[in-house]
Assembly symmetry: D2
Homo-oligomer: 507 residues x 4
């Protein structure tokens, strides 16, 4: 870790991913989003599946004997208006191919995104121009210039781009960026939106951009930490995860590779990230997933400018309609709005300030502008029964003044873990309202507190973390306001004659 870095940034708080744009028409989508926004000031949603047939954007028709291409922005406008109403902006991903423009019929996912190039590149360019212009007409150029545009999604995979044809993608990039800039050169455009594992695409893409003298405002890539699956069915995918530090190292290497190609000034956006890249991988539902991601949230800002977690909710249909309350979905927030442990990981780190006052492998503490010390500690335990099952985080915080009030919120295997409660209930696929209500109570994190005395201008915290725990601690000056209520004498309360305060300290 670089000792010199003393400023904390939150690239992962800027943007989130979700299922394709058509799901923005659902009530559930925005209920979940508001739940997220309450704890994380998201600015962008990555708009995936923008051009899928179900949105009706493009139709080829015969009218009066002629072949006509009709555009229909009814639902796109509805989705984009909804983003505006909910105070968030689009991160526009151009894709997939409207069937009526496509050169082939290869599709991906249950919802059948067409992944073939256009059969007529002019028709594609016309669509890009028309839609970009429509947005400027409707929302104003000042607004649209704040929306990052990204060309396609994971063209280095044959599933997402026919034959993973690099030349075809580079041509796609050229046609698309040229079309966009022809409407407004100040719109920011990025690519190549590749996933990991084939970083020679970085060199190839940047060489192409240089050679063709094309604009490139943003470099985009994805980041998952899944290793080969242990078992895989259509319903469930059991995937092991790499070491928690692995994604951080990968981020650093990607950034260095971009820089090495002479693009040090171009920001790096990770337009998708998570642990497993599979939407039916049960690890996503666990506290381990949350504790595992913590290191990345703590350090990603050193290397990336924006990161978009894939995805904020379990409204997600790549593998058919979700068949059970918990099914290994990507989401921070589960079905029925039940908060999964990973939600709290993002919530905790979102409370951080920018001034780092302590940082080690499993703990980060910062000071906020309002003076509050905000610390998060985590304890991911991959091996069951290993010696690290329970761990003590030791943190020293510089502290002026007298005693400190420490408020702690905990998520681990027994606190804030509705997945475990659901399993114990017999895994009801579609729980009753009463069961859902119970699971929401079971999903509540733990709340503990302590009053800590500083010694020599330092607060020494020693906090025990349980298996797969992620814990938040906020420190403020302790102030006993009892005097504001003259005459207090707790021992006179019926039933409370013994001790003024029973609540144990977590220390």
């Amino acid at each position: 870790m670089n000792d010199k870095i003393r400023t904390f940034t939150k690239p992962w708080a800027l943007c989130v991913g979700s299922d394709r744009v058509s799901t923005m028409l659902r009530a559930e989508y925005w209920e979940r989003f508001e739940t997220l926004k309450a704890v994380m000031p998201v600015q962008y949603i990555r708009c995936h599946g923008l051009l899928c047939d179900e949105l009706g954007v493009v139709r080829r028709r015969e009218r009066n004997g002629a072949d006509v291409i009709l555009y229909n922005f009814t639902y796109l406008d509805q989705a984009f208006d909804a983003m505006r109403a909910h105070g968030v902006r689009p991160y526009v991903e151009w894709g997939f191919m409207p069937t009526d423009l496509a050169s082939g019929d290869q599709t991906i996912f249950w919802w059948k995104g067409n992944v073939t190039p256009p059969k007529d590149w002019n028709e594609w360019a016309n669509l890009v121009v028309a839609l970009t212009q429509h947005w400027i007409d409707r929302y104003g150029a000042e607004e649209v210039r704040q929306w990052p545009f990204e060309v396609w999604n994971e063209p280095n995979l044959t599933n997402f781009w026919k034959d993973a044809d690099q030349d075809a993608y580079f041509h796609m990039y050229e046609v698309t960026v040229t079309a966009i800039k022809s409407v407004d050169p100040l719109i920011k455009v990025g690519g190549p939106a590749i996933c990991g594992g084939q970083d020679h695409w970085i060199d190839d893409f940047l060489a192409f951009v240089l050679k063709r003298r094309l604009p490139l405002d943003i470099f985009t890539r994805h980041l998952y930490t899944g290793e080969p699956p242990k078992k895989q069915t259509e319903d469930i995918f059991y995937q092991a995860l790499a070491e928690p530090r692995k994604p951080i190292d990968e981020l650093r290497e990607v950034r260095a590779r971009i820089d090495g190609n002479g693009f040090a000034a171009v920001p790096l956006h990770i337009t998708e990230f998570n642990t497993s890249y599979n939407p039916v991988c049960p690890v996503h539902d666990t506290p381990y997933n949350a504790a595992y991601l913590a290191s990345l949230l703590a350090e990603a800002g050193e290397h990336a400018d924006l990161m978009s977690f894939w995805t904020f909710s379990d409204l997600f249909e790549e593998q058919d309609v979700p068949r059970a309350l918990f099914h290994g979905g990507f989401g921070m927030i589960g079905r029925h709005g039940i908060l999964k442990p990973t939600y709290h990981a993002f919530a905790f780190f979102s409370r951080m300030g920018s001034e780092i006052v302590h940082q080690d492998e499993r703990c980060l503490a910062t000071r906020r502008a309002d003076g509050v010390i905000c610390a998060v500690a985590w304890n991911p335990c991959r091996e069951v029964g290993a010696s690290d099952d329970r761990r003590v985080a030791s943190v020293s915080i510089p502290w002026k003044g007298s005693s400190a009030l420490a408020l702690r919120v905990r998520v681990n295997e027994t606190l804030g873990n509705p997945w475990e409660a659901w399993r114990a209930m017999g895994r009801p696929l579609n729980p009753s309202p009463a069961q859902i209500e119970f699971l929401k109570i079971a999903a509540a994190p733990g709340a503990e507190q302590a009053v800590i005395e500083p010694e020599n201008g330092t607060l020494a915290l020693r906090v025990t973390l349980e298996r797969n725990e992620i814990t938040l601690i906020e420190l403020t000056p302790f102030k006993d306001e009892s005097a504001g209520y003259p005459g207090l004498e707790d021992s006179l309360i019926d039933g409370y004659a013994d001790e003024p305060v029973r609540r144990p300290s977590f220390l």
Copy 2:
């Protein structure tokens, strides 16, 4: 306890009390009410302080040289429209005296309710007629006939009725009931709204009603269990409580006394009840208060037809504006919407069915129409360190079929007790938003579960209750739906190789 009673009713779920009607104009009022309605199907709110000056209902003015009495229903309509919008009806309490009609200037409370008789009984009768007619015009006679009307409040106390003058009250009753019935004889009218301690008023009032051949549709009385205070200041009132069975006995005696006067057919409404009768008594904030009230909630239906808890929220100003988050207020719901233990007591009992399957001094179990067994157990501990600090509830439930899933929700000194967390934080008078958020997490009850095997058609539950615990248990047939998700193999989840389900059973 009467062994023959096998049907459970919930008179306390029908009606709740609150601060005076003018507080219905507040946003906070209805936020809290919706929180209550989410767990208890309240039908009525007792409308206290209906005629206070701040609502502007009555003004005596000189106009063109004449003495004129002007009525102004602007705010009353706003309050009553709000009740309608929130799906609840008024339980109309006629009082206090508008200053411009009053015979004296004695007032009660910070908000100065005038407690003197009218100086001109005709003016009072005119007001009663005008307002009753106005309601019929605005809401329809069918609707108004569903609103119980009650004449005055606690006339047997000198604070609430000048000199506690019985004759004057009886005259007030006669004038008022006559005025109401002159508008619509089908409106239900009740009295005498006395508090406990002077039950000779029951005999006196009923004798008067008989003698004067007056209508009496409802008998109303209050019920508190506070004993003489241990210490009393303007800010805090430390009051001991009677034995938990005391109010049940009192209910029975009141009912018997009414019957003894020949009014067995008249329903009994307890238009106020709680433990302490004082709004700055800290016991109201404790788990002890909740555990204490449980017996009354379990048995009140044997004696009373309607009971109105005083009050559903800590928006309450009899003793000035509340000066701290927790201040001993009557409310089930504290300031900032923080749920107090007593809220859960009402929520738990509201889930009960009507068929009793087990009942003892500290546990009630019922079967609901949907077949679910719903049980509540409680353990109020007045003496600290006494042997009953922890208690085991043993319940046998008839059970057809195989294993049962038991979902348990717990409130005690460490679960669902935000008051304790607040005390440990140094009792912040006006907590910061972050502190309020923390207290809401600390206010979450515990959620535990178990799968129970029946033996010989019986489920034997043995549940340990902590000090001042009140616990809810719901039993449904256990169903393992794992098969609906073919291929499940939990030990393949990264980090979860050991055991399929870790979550401990509460048994």
Copy 3:
């Protein structure tokens, strides 16, 4: 018209139709529904397209080498929970065929409902049993017994049922009703859900039911008044309408035919009705549509027990995603929530009371339980420039007491007609927010008023109706409350010295 009928009923206020069930997941769906509920106390929504693939209800899979049929109620539960949350119940239409159960691949509409019989009737019966049981488990038998069940949709059309095969449909009815009743015989089941034009199906179906001694709790049929189209493209369908009395006559004949088969005790539900049966027919957007439907709303209750307007909103995708704000959609409520004239027709008639005080071909007046006289008059003008372009409605209302206040709300070609404003704006396909705002102002109906003096116990109203007007008039006793504000002297208001009240009377 039958002079003896003096009671007004509103079968069309009980139920409404909408696009297929999957659209209930959309935020727009419930925004529109709340707009409707504000003026009409709808109790049921007809659940069309219940079993379409996009809801994921049925999947045939190979699991461990076996052919398995998996049910997934995730989205159905979400839709049905949403209905519950919005205070409305399902009117269950069983269909269309899940692809994985179907015998063929014939589909209907953009959203591809499969209209072929099951390839294995047992698999269909199993699905019906499983889903019915699931609903009983989740919502309780008491609740589900209040949901009408209907078997399929328009089997007499080849588009909706392969070959319009009558025998196959009758078998479908038998299998389905038997499956449902095997779960709970108290659930109400109906058919044959035919559209008009082939009423021999009525005789055939009832004969079949009799012969097979099958239960039939409800007879269902559809009712449209469109005549052959004048012009038809994929985008637009220009359809003439029959005379406004035609559907009323048709209703009477259908009822008589059912009775004639010995089923006089079985209620008649019109599970779809509107003018044109096509979702891109511009007449739906016009004031003429509203004025045309008025006769039917006024008289339908004489013949039918429930009628479900098809549809309450323009969220409707049978012919692709709507391509313009106004596109001839079925809805009472247009895109962006803009109210179409037909919405007001339903709103006006929903205010009616049950006692008829006047009825002629183009006017109905009733007395409500609250004493208010509520009248609607209408003036549909099919022929342009004909003599009936402007019409005077003359109504005599019995009236006790003195003068009456008449409040009038008007919709016609220039009032409450946003379609006309939109056309004049150049038909913007996707209007800007500012244009939408303007159209909402343009959509406001007219409000006029008058004070009317009775003569000889009668109020004589003579009201002029403009072309295609539908007008609501409510009469209450006029009461001048100026005296409640002593000292009023309007001529002293700066700028208003001339006349106390300028507003003209509509008389």
Copy 4:
């Protein structure tokens, strides 16, 4: 008018006034505020009556034999949290005097604001320091520095400040500003909050500030245009208004006077303005009020930096609880949320851009950043029957390109005038829900439109304004999108054979 001024600013859109702070606890308050915010991006609410007893801020008590002053911020925090939740900031007005700190018992208004100086200036300073510090603790210094602070209200009137004692006020200013700056010198403080009519206070106050070398960040004054009343009772106040240009001249003179004292760099805030200064003056409810204010809204930005309209809603109790729906209240928005004409005046001008393209005495046209031309024209008619009853506004707008679409919204005596409808209904003091619904329809403005052809790069608008009309016109390029819907042929719509578009142009 100064020809050189070509930039339009909206000082009156920054801030609004309302009844005292305690009314922020009401649900009605925020419903109305959201109605306002939908059309005007208000940033501040002037917090009047901040320290009134009903908020419980200050209590003098004897505790343990000592005289203690207790602060209670429970309700102030609730009000300020509500402002934050609704996206608006406080404009803090320090006053009136808490009874327990006051030197006398003189009060103002029904709600009894004490208007006497403190009996102990240290106690006052302590309160100012404590409350300012509390806000910084709760909301952060960065936030509080954005709240303007103003010392007292209209000290030049004996009603608002005992004896209108200038020396006492100057001392109040000195003590208060010194106390505030001692907590944080970056908080902005202003005074002297005088009303018009005694502008020698300007010179006196500025001389005092200079002499004592006190900070003064803002100069504050009020602005009303009422002349002596024609008739005055407790219930109604008939007040004539000065010429519409009078307040503009007054603004200019005040600014010049401040500059002349050497304070040209100090911004001028008009912390209250309206026509009549009386809350029961019927002119406030009229279209004349709206048309009258238009000139001021058009030109105020030339002289003032912030203006706060007094008040945004008729939730207002200075003269007792409002006794009727319309009662001459200050509000833009009436009771039950009924929009008064003045609301539209603010809404119309809020749509303006900053580039002025036309300006005359009764019309202003601007170009917005989005290119839209936005014009408002007005026609206040004080004299009844005068020749100016109807007026034509002629405006020439530079226009590139082809035809323009003009959308017009109108308010005058017959459009958008619910007051007139209410009068014609017999002035119901407390209208029924049905009457309120009708009045909301009657309150809708008119919507008209036209397509205009430019000549020689100019659009020539000639718009007829009715008596007391204020009209909004927005111009955008006209675009006929009918081609996007191939096959349109309106004459085929049943009933619409005659003309493609019937809607008349307003030109």
